[in-house]
Symmetry: D2
Subunit: 252 residues, 4 copies
């Protein structure tokens, strides 16, 4: 049931909006009007005057609801990574940096009730925006420990973390610390945008992390026209390169 | 800690094995030997004689551990779909058919403790294999209700399901039933391998399901060589087309 | 040497212009000015105030010089097709329709001196634009026989053509005529934008044309930054599907 | 007409053969037999017992006929490059190295009657194989000047070449010489397999060559099944990166 003040996703043609519905208000797109009074009190999934209205999915929230201070982690990359890291099986999850908190939100949604996400963001503006995004859309809870700091300035016990997601400009600066503070065998994903970073990171990982996959994900969408089925005209050609590794045990 | 009878993933060069370690046994690859006695009792993440040994991730289990009676749902498609469907937010999840249970396993891992997965497989051989896969790798629990039947032969209340994953040859045969048994606004993913099926499915969805995305995912891997960085020589060109839809509310 | 009235390609950052240089004139991009007087009389390859100036390549002419009345054949598709059809070895080449004459221009440039291109365009406006494009950029010569007509309204001897490029909405309407007027074994490329057309075309080709390849070409560009090497952010996801076939000999 | 001793392309299911037909001989594939006596004296385009027989195209010759001493330039890359370099408009074309002569053959086929291809290969074995490939398939003529040497050991006049195709391991070793021996504005394509080489090459090109495109071409093929249309299961993920540049004029 869509109630007043609920968040909804409204789609009209190719456009997508995340809105909070208020009595008496409306959404106006190209002279087409959706009056919120017509949807309040109704079950979601409403198709009205070309508008489609439903409760937002996790993807819609992070993609269309979150404010962006930085380049975001794209859903195609974030979803793949979250399950590749086996987030539902991890108790202590490390993240650095938060960026706009897209990955934080997906981890919080995917991890178990008794898990903790330890996330770090050193940029004040990005941190404030990230926390605000999480708060606005209901992701803030006790399972999140967010620190306004560079990961190198935080301190954790040896073998503390079960897995990590590292999205920072110079990931090679953190390898020794990661190697120590992650459990042996822990799954770690590094996200970088350039090939130079991949090369430099690979050099720094030697003997400390076992690299088992380096991937780029291309998402090619089709237009939903049954009689003239074909891909969309354009697609993102590049978002990020994902480097998946596991922490090498040196204790024996 | 790797104990006797534990499952481990063993990687050697490009090869990946899921094995249960037993005292006195060993893995022999191209005249290189990994003696299990050397890893039992040690923390995971072991790099020994070119072998890397760790506890299997969810992906490794479904990809290398599961027996295949049918074409499997690929991790790249399954991971994207699981979070796109917002599985952690769903209480009653519908699946048809199970195939080799790859998607069932990922859903079971991603859904909450109080959720139920209602899955259906009409082929006896596939069903037996699917259940065996889930059992062997510890996915079977009370949250799974598996039925050896065509979904059309099962019966559920109106608006019963929160979301659905439909991987069957003729999905258009089930649209009316899906439309009725899913909640208004429920998120449904259809997986089909051919463009003809996409067209035929789109026709059948009209007025019942709102199509918001049709995607193909291409995963391009890089070779982990920092001095000669480049993609692998070959990649899968096609696994499946994913059609994401939401159930239209007709009750108002 | 760049002389007055010569065509040149001018690149500035991501922008590309085809211009005819005139004394006293200039190009103004974002308050940066290229005075043509500074380049007239100089050898091409000039880098001046961030502008790069050279004689246009074939690709630059068809891509940036040609006026478009219709969706054009993209260079990536046209170049592949021209050599796949072995245009330099063909004496009588059939084309239908001309569109904006991109493929006509590439065929004319690639074919030998004693070859003839027989091209057809039924739409008056497209035809006029196509001929004007060819004329403006110097492609018009005796080796081109252009007809303002549907190919079905033209008449040729049996086994007349060595190869054909067919870019029309309903290619299945022309299969019998193509089969008769092409030499046995002749190489034919059909270009269509949708998967439905591919299916319908394949049905119509049965027993008349041997299909040896159906391809989509994806061109992924990198940004020319040596320290931060990575692909561009966006790319065309779809232009056309190319169906390569050879005429089956039924005379024995 | 297929005559005795003619080269033909024979396709059977996914297999492709380049053969010289001799009376009394035959091709045997999986217990299916094509007797050459049945095709000699007939027009090409023959479909017989599941075999398709026609005269080889340029692509079939270089792909299936040429012997490979080295990694070859793939048709998808070679075709795009040949027209991008505007080979039909060039009089003096530089190539280094020859590899297996795939690109040499395509240039020879595409360039005009009065043009000359100056090609260089420093490896004796590769050179012998390249020349043999060209000879066997009829590409050898007066328009080819092949030199068994490193390009740095050859000597040409300033501004001698109209364009160049450079496929060598360390292309940055030749930039000064290329810059001098190519005409101002000349179009040059460099082909390299790794991202590290792209970065290093880009550094070396600064102020001498203007980089206007860096591309990777992905070719995705569809299976020719009209009722179950879909891409092939696998595709090449990587062959080469193409760097397109023009020689900067420094004479003013």
């Amino acid at each position: 049931m869509i109630l007043e003040n609920d968040l909804v996703t409204i789609r009209y043609s190719d456009r997508v909006y995340i809105k909070r519905v208020k009595k008496g208000e409306s959404l106006n797109v190209k002279s087409h009007i959706l009056k919120y009074d017509d949807i309040i009190g109704k079950e979601e999934g409403i198709l009205l005057n070309g508008f489609f209205v439903a409760k937002p999915t996790l993807e819609e929230i992070v993609k269309y609801g979150f404010k962006r201070e930085t380049q975001i982690v794209y859903p195609k990359d974030a979803f793949y990574t979250a399950i590749k890291l086996d987030i539902p099986s991890c108790k202590r999850i490390l993240e650095f940096g938060m960026g706009s908190a897209v990955m934080s939100a997906i981890i919080l949604k995917t991890m178990k009730e008794d898990a903790i996400l330890y996330t770090h963001e050193e940029n004040q503006k990005a941190y404030d925006n990230a926390i605000k995004n999480l708060k606005t859309f209901g992701f803030l809870d006790d399972r999140l420990k967010a620190t306004l700091a560079n990961y190198n300035d935080a301190k954790y016990d040896e073998g503390f973390f079960d897995c990590a997601f590292i999205d920072t400009k110079e990931p090679w600066e953190y390898i020794d610390k990661l190697h120590k503070e992650l459990k042996p065998g822990a799954n770690v994903c590094f996200l970088v945008p350039t090939y130079n970073q991949v090369s430099k990171l690979l050099e720094s990982l030697k003997d400390k992390f076992f690299v088992y996959e380096i991937s780029e994900i291309l998402l090619r969408k089709l237009k939903p026209n049954p009689d003239r089925l074909r891909p969309e005209d354009f697609m993102p050609a590049h978002t990020a390169i994902l480097i998946f590794t596991r922490n090498i045990n040196h204790s024996y």
